[in-house]
Symmetry: C2
Subunit: 243 residues, 2 copies
């Protein structure tokens, strides 16, 4: 049976999703929990390879199993073995060839900036604190230039090796609610650090260091140095995977 | 000079506000930070003695100092010495006889219940997870019986020694927003664990184990055993102190 899991996690204590040799990852902890209850040696495939410190409200993963634990009991059984910063919210059977990453049509990420005079202890692990007031209207205008199919080489961490840097951004919204500025991006795929570099660029726009119209030429340049800096991981959250 | 501070803190890693011999408290960490920058040996008075694991969005404290650090720079100077789970959001001069606790006319606490099928890693330290759907309308009706001046002995942790258990609750609101049920209570003072026991009683009302009208007789009984259980600390937050 091929099982799909819906996951939420607080990434603060993990070195990202992907299994690593000398660091604790979400994938590893999840696999160990599933192995413990099924007695199998499963391999879990995640839709998004979230980085160290990045969170997920709606990560999707799948794994093959012959377990006789009823599907509706599986989330409770797995959660029993998981630390409280990772939770399985749903388990369901999917076609044998379903692959959480390859089948994903789109993913939605949100980057949250806490734009206030003083940092907030209560949200410090879930937002990036920035004390200078940002011009959200300018950020909204800049956001529209990201929409559509582009080569996003300028918004990829250097050193990444991918075949193509062309991605399709379906939606990019910037909204302020009180002290929080939320940047929500939906795309058919993301390059390494792409949302964090887009957010860093929008932050520069909010500071009037980059004008909204300039975003078009930054994209066109394909030059990482033209875009803003990579904002830190704690502001980023994988909201949803669309199939 | 008598200085008033407005504080926010994540209480997860502290044994409450009050200085203790063998445990780390918010008061102690704050005093150490102020001592380090002023070179004085200050004593900080807090308005609310929050328990271990309880948070504050608007705790107020005061201390006497002869420091020559300008008031407007004081928050930044103190924050520089504080861990990132405590933040000073404001400092201002107050009358010499101002006392953060004795002068407080009212305090506002909020208790948050996360009422959903599965726990949420992202809010696990700031809400109490409860998986059975609660009847919020019944909880609202029950809430009205707490209003006014009552002897709240039934809603005080046993073993507390206070002169009088009479308190005045000015406002008690129960609201659901999505999966979160927020119980907000404003009173002229609170007994030990009072909000957590009120919230535990409202939870029983939400489960139809106690009917809303029964709250009046529970208050009248003065019997701790008649009220609900003490909900855990992480759901509680001191929102505001009114002077």
């Amino acid at each position: 049976m091929n099982v799909e899991l819906l996951l939420e996690y607080d990434g603060t204590s993990y070195h990202g999703w992907q299994r690593q040799k000398n660091a604790r990852s979400v994938q590893q902890v999840l696999e160990e929990a599933i192995n413990a209850i099924t007695g199998e040696n499963v391999r879990v495939i995640g839709a998004g390879r979230t980085d160290a410190g990045v969170h997920a409200l709606g990560q999707v993963a799948n794994f093959k199993t012959n377990t006789r634990i009823p599907l509706e009991k599986l989330p409770y059984a797995i959660n029993n073995r998981l630390p409280d910063d990772i939770v399985v919210k749903r388990a369901r059977a999917v076609p044998e060839d379903f692959h959480a990453r390859l089948w994903a049509k789109a993913k939605v990420y949100a980057y949250t900036i806490h734009n206030a005079s003083f940092p907030s202890p209560l949200i410090r692990n879930f937002a990036y604190f920035f004390p200078i007031t940002l011009d959200v209207d300018a950020m909204k205008r800049a956001g529209s230039y990201f929409l559509g199919v582009h080569d996003f080489s300028a918004f990829m961490a250097s050193g990444s090796a991918v075949k193509s840097c062309v991605r399709h951004i379906f939606r990019l919204e910037v909204n302020r609610q009180g002290d929080l500025i939320k940047i929500e991006v939906e795309a058919n795929g993301f390059l390494y650090n792409m949302v964090r570099i887009i957010s860093g660029t929008l932050l520069d726009v909010g500071l009037h260091r980059i004008c909204p119209e300039e975003v078009a030429s930054i994209i066109e340049s394909g030059n990482r140095d033209m875009a803003g800096r990579t904002l830190p991981p704690q502001g980023l959250c994988l909201l949803k995977v669309v199939y």
